[in-house]
Symmetry: C2
Subunit: 311 residues, 2 copies
């Protein structure tokens, strides 16, 4: 039997589904359930749903050290989801305080990329690192930045938007309403946009990053060039990150990293060419070691472990 301090409830809130798991300090993940996000009329309805789920499974909430919640646009400083464009609930939702009152249990909410960065610290290869950056390359580009051993939240809790550094002034239109953001180039969506441009297609309805990867494997010139273009800009962006906070390691995570050398070779080449001389051969670029399917749970759980260490 495990003591109270050895497991937490991890909640992974996404645009499509909300997922629940029990995570032990050793990293065992027991999935409790998944529900469509749209089925929660209000974010607060997740509380009663989780309560029912625990009752069904005959699990007492008192067994847990806390509840960790990873969510898009999560803000740890005030425990809220803030104006998340891809979630059905609008405005500022103080979900952490709602959960901690409802369950009478410590609840910490953070954005998913920050949670994943802490996951790498507690369950992956960042355990001994005080200065690292964790980047998720999925539909967009998310990031968690750790400096002096602490996650960077900034004065408002919303720091670490590397995906929205403006990389190409007056470049591609971004979902944020501005132009030329990193994530319009360096993400699964960005790769597809580049490929569609290179193929001079008028629409891209059936193309995803997996398709571009398959074409690259088949040796198609435009697909390989698309990866080179993406990696070149990603490497440049990582070099800029190093000029800012000089991390020991940058971890890459997410669907796009499964493209292997098609992405990594041009990324590393560009990084080495673009990094300022004083930083050369110091910063390592590594693939995250978090398991793809459980990374979000391990990240959400780490919010509690990290708080236990730091408090």
């Amino acid at each position: 039997m495990q003591s109270k301090n050895q497991k937490v409830i991890a909640v992974d809130i996404g645009g499509t589904s909300v997922k629940f798991a029990i995570v032990t300090q050793a990293g065992e993940v027991e999935i409790m359930g998944t529900e469509k996000t749209a089925n929660f009329k209000n974010a607060e309805d997740i509380g009663p749903y989780l309560k029912n789920k625990l009752q069904e499974l005959k699990i007492s909430i008192s067994e847990f050290a806390g509840i960790g919640i990873g969510a898009p646009n999560g803000n740890k400083l005030n425990g809220s989801i803030e104006f998340a464009p891809n979630l059905p609930w609008k405005g500022l939702i103080p979900l952490a305080s709602y959960f901690s009152n409802y369950f009478n249990l410590k609840t910490i909410l953070d954005n998913d990329a920050n949670a994943a960065a802490l996951g790498e610290k507690h369950y992956g290869k960042a355990g001994d690192k005080n200065d690292f950056i964790f980047i998720t390359l999925g539909t967009g580009l998310g990031s968690g930045i750790v400096i002096n051993g602490n996650m960077v939240y900034g004065h408002d809790g919303l720091a670490g938007e590397i995906g929205h550094l403006i990389l190409i002034p007056e470049g591609r239109m971004c979902g944020c309403g501005r132009k030329g953001c990193v994530e319009t180039y360096c993400s699964a969506t960005g790769l597809v946009k580049t490929y569609v441009e290179k193929k001079k297609l008028t629409q891209n309805l059936n193309i995803d990053s997996e398709y571009v990867f398959q074409k690259a494997v088949e040796g198609e010139k435009e697909a390989i060039e698309s990866f080179n273009f993406t990696g070149n800009l990603l490497g440049l962006t990582l070099a800029n990150c190093v000029a800012f906070s000089s991390p020991k390691t940058i971890f890459l995570f997410g669907g796009l990293t499964r493209s292997g050398d098609f992405l990594m070779k041009p990324t590393l080449k560009s990084f080495n060419e673009n990094v300022l001389k004083v930083y050369q051969n110091k910063t390592e670029i590594l693939l995250s070691t978090l398991p793809k399917n459980n990374a979000a749970f391990l990240g959400a759980a780490s919010l509690i472990w990290n708080d236990t260490i730091n408090s």
Copy 2:
């Protein structure tokens, strides 16, 4: 009479001269002397020079809480000046440990922009701020970044090179050997380059940023456009800095800021246009309140005060 804890020796090492002052905790600066940098064959020769100076002035080293040294390419983590292109001494110079042994007194060395940032914290308007960035706009662009109340040094002590973020891929040649760095546009040198381009001049031997400012005051179109161009790119850079660490305040310091609205108006306009929506109307851009002539001394002194607080 002041106690030992109330004053320090501040040393400001620059490409042209090495300057010495006594600085009190209240911010009084008493200049002890200035010597041409080239007159010190080795950096270590600064030690005996300072000792003689103190003897001349009949001041005992035991009166001081420490020695703070600001230097280009200074690295606080190892107390060294590292491969400074604009200093006569080559390689890696562990000056802090040399000084602390020679004088038997705590000595802290850091790069001049970090020291100035701490100066703003101890003597300026950043005293209550845990998250701020300090930017010096001089010949180049230097920066000190404070996050969670601590200066950002990175894993190697060399973080905070905002001047060497690549702003325009394949842009202007930079002294660092790469292209398109922020400081090739956003600095006194960058302003002059822009002006020379706009005027289609073949050489710029007699033009400095003060000249461009005077021309702008006279209403010359190209001079005003040069400030607009510079401010536009500076505002964009500041917006990128906010996406990284979400500071409460960005302080601007240095010769170029004395151009007043010619620089600040386009900078603020561009910043407001380019900052990501979630950060809008949160971060303030302020001019540093450090006195121009004593800023380097106040910064160097703050290295000791900051260490006293944090240790």
